[in-house]
């Protein structure tokens, strides 16, 4: 196939981006509402993903005792991808009960949505564990959640719902990014049947917040210049771009909710 490159229309980020500000992007996204302030928009324009890419592993775990913690090693094959998807689903499945348990969500419809999302994520976990069988890399109990980091995301309604949006949007980009690397046709169909539900989640929670149901470019955790070109024929609001597993892991790390070290050829 010939190269299909759609001209980028977005602002091109170039060198001299500030480092260490990936968390600033997250902070902005966590405070999102229907009418973002100009200040926040400016802030997004400044953030970059590059610095976070260097860390690879969540910083939080560096302060944790490593001995008893399971390292998650994802290989660059179908089973590695399914295990990687399982990790994301586990994090989502852990987040919603915590969100509901925080007492900060009091609106009946919002509670209804978060309950449904939690049950869907639990169903995804169960499905992936069944598919993986003996090839599952970790049990739920092997995951060490960073309770301090998690609690920081549960301090108020907006933060909770915006975190849900971040997790769901990230899930969409992650599944999309892994799709072309899968080789088993049943796996890619299964991933497809899950990813569109994640997209519905993202849109639903975005709507609860009065945000757009699609994701504007300036809300993406991976900016255009950092997107892997050969994975992304299209870019912009009308598309959910493909993130590499490495990019996804860096984004997960920035949320500071997981302590386990992560490595392996899939995320290298």
């Amino acid at each position: 196939m010939t190269n299909i490159r759609i001209p980028q229309t977005g602002i091109q980020e170039t060198a001299h981006r500030p480092t260490g500000v990936f968390t600033s992007q997250l902070d902005s996204l966590l405070r999102k509402s229907a009418s973002p302030s100009r200040r926040n928009l400016l802030k997004w324009g400044l953030v970059s993903f590059g610095a976070a890419m260097m860390t690879g592993v969540p910083k939080a775990l560096m302060a944790q005792p490593m001995g008893s913690m399971k390292t998650l090693t994802f290989n660059a094959n179908d089973l590695g991808i399914l295990n990687f998807a399982l990790l994301l689903e586990e994090l989502e499945a852990a987040f919603y009960p915590a969100a509901l348990g925080s007492g900060k969500i009091t609106d009946a419809k919002e509670m209804d949505y978060l309950k449904a999302l939690g049950s869907h994520e639990a169903a995804h976990v169960e499905f992936l564990r069944t598919v993986l069988g003996n090839n599952v890399l970790f049990q739920t109990s092997d995951l060490s959640l960073n309770s301090q980091g998690l609690n920081a995301l549960l301090t108020d309604r907006a933060k909770i719902l915006n975190t849900a949006v971040i997790l769901e949007d990230l899930g969409v980009h992650a599944y999309n990014g892994a799709g072309p690397s899968l080789t088993n046709p049943t796996y890619i169909l299964a991933a497809g049947s899950i990813v569109s539900v994640e997209a519905r989640h993202a849109a639903g929670v975005r709507a609860l917040l009065g945000r757009t149901t699609t994701e504007p470019e300036n809300e993406r955790l991976v900016q255009d210049t950092n997107l892997q070109a050969n994975l992304n024929p299209f870019k912009g609001r009308a598309y959910d771009e493909l993130y590499t597993p490495k990019q996804v892991i860096a984004a997960v790390g920035s949320l500071r909710i997981l302590n386990n070290p992560i490595n392996g050829s899939l995320v290298a």
């Binding site: 196939m1 010939t2 190269n3 299909i4 759609i6 179908d78 949505y113 449904a116 049950s119 869907h120 994520e121 169903a123 995804h124 499905f127 598919v131 993986l132 069988g133 090839n135 969409v172 999309n176 799709g179 072309p180 899968l182 080789t183 088993n184 046709p185 049943t186 796996y187 890619i188 169909l189 299964a190 497809g192 049947s193 899950i194 990813v195 569109s196 539900v197 994640e198 997209a199 519905r200 989640h201 993202a202 849109a203 639903g204 709507a207 757009t212 149901t213 699609t214 994701e215 994975l231 992304n232 024929p233 299209f234 912009g236 609001r237 009308a238 598309y239 959910d240 771009e241 493909l242």
Partner: protein, 291 residues
């Protein structure tokens, strides 16, 4: 606004959706007979592939080349873009003038997305040696085929039709991922593009569903809770994938989608003809490129 809520009171949407679904599901069952045989043996293939290199386990209808997938997708996107254009026109002083701004904003945004898909898929098709201009839809598509009545006559019908169209779009893209994967390297770029579009259609479907819940008090959520909410075969049995669960979206093959879309691709007559929801092969009014 008043007109809007009058329309709601007059048209309980679920009554129609079930009728449409029943008609469609009968027709779909026949089409699916062959697919189901394949689906029955899928679990065996599936679990046998966990420890060995995966054997092909295709359950998604006809094998299409990447170019054929793009031609098919472009047809659907042209229809969707045209659907939103007409919806937006009807909100500008027409019968949909009473639609709340919240919904108008969404219609405009989604219409732009679909138009972008048309533009970009056209470029892809050209790069594959195809001719996007040959993928034509009628000048006046018969959108009454969706609900059995004009979907642009009132907000309730507009959003219900929009939900059907968007949900079907999600299922249609999902129905091609195995074909694109099977094409190997030749299909990788189209696969990536299809995935990029697939979940945006899901966001659209969710957004329209949210509007129906919020504005019309419809018993619906951004996700599919019941197979009667969609016009394709959502709860496909005999698959290792639990499509019957609301946590898993179903797919539709090209044959199934075109059976549903075929009646829309016929030119609307004036006055509106009695819509036929019997899936049938398109008539001479249909674009030739696809069949």
């Amino acid at each position: 606004m008043k007109l809007f809520f009058n329309a709601i009171a007059q048209l309980p949407d679920h009554r129609f959706s079930k009728n449409v679904y029943q008609q469609l599901s009968h027709a779909c069952l026949q089409l699916l007979a062959s697919a189901k045989v394949v689906a029955l043996i899928l679990p065996l293939l599936f679990f046998s592939t966990v420890f060995v290199p995966p054997a092909p386990a295709y359950a998604q209808g006809a094998t299409l080349t990447p170019r054929q997938v793009v031609e098919y997708a472009l047809t659907l996107e042209k229809l969707e873009a045209d659907f939103y254009r007409r919806a937006i026109a009807a909100t500008q002083g027409g019968p949909l003038a009473g639609v709340p701004d919240m919904a108008k904003t969404v219609l405009v945004a989604y219409g732009q997305d679909e138009a972008q898909h048309v533009t970009d898929l056209s470029a892809v098709l050209r790069s594959l040696g195809g001719n996007p201009d040959a993928i034509a839809i009628p000048a006046n598509p018969n959108y009454s085929a969706i609900l059995g009545r004009d979907p642009f006559a009132n907000p309730t019908d507009l959003l219900l039709a929009g939900q059907y169209v968007e949900d079907l779009g999600v299922a249609a893209y999902k129905g091609q991922v195995q074909n694109l994967l099977a094409a190997g390297d030749a299909g990788k770029t189209v696969l990536a593009g299809a995935l990029e579009i697939h979940t945006v259609e899901a966001r659209h479907a969710a957004g329209v569903r949210y509007l129906r819940q919020m504005l019309l008090n419809a018993d619906v959520r951004p996700w599919v809770r019941n197979s009667s909410e969609v016009i394709y075969n959502e709860n496909r049995g005999g698959s290792p994938i639990p499509f019957g669960s609301e946590a898993f979206d179903g797919y539709a093959t090209r044959e199934e989608v075109l059976a549903l879309v075929g009646p829309i691709l016929t030119t609307a007559q004036a006055p509106q003809p009695t819509p036929s929801m019997t899936p049938n092969r398109p008539t001479s009014n249909a674009p030739r490129a696809l069949w």
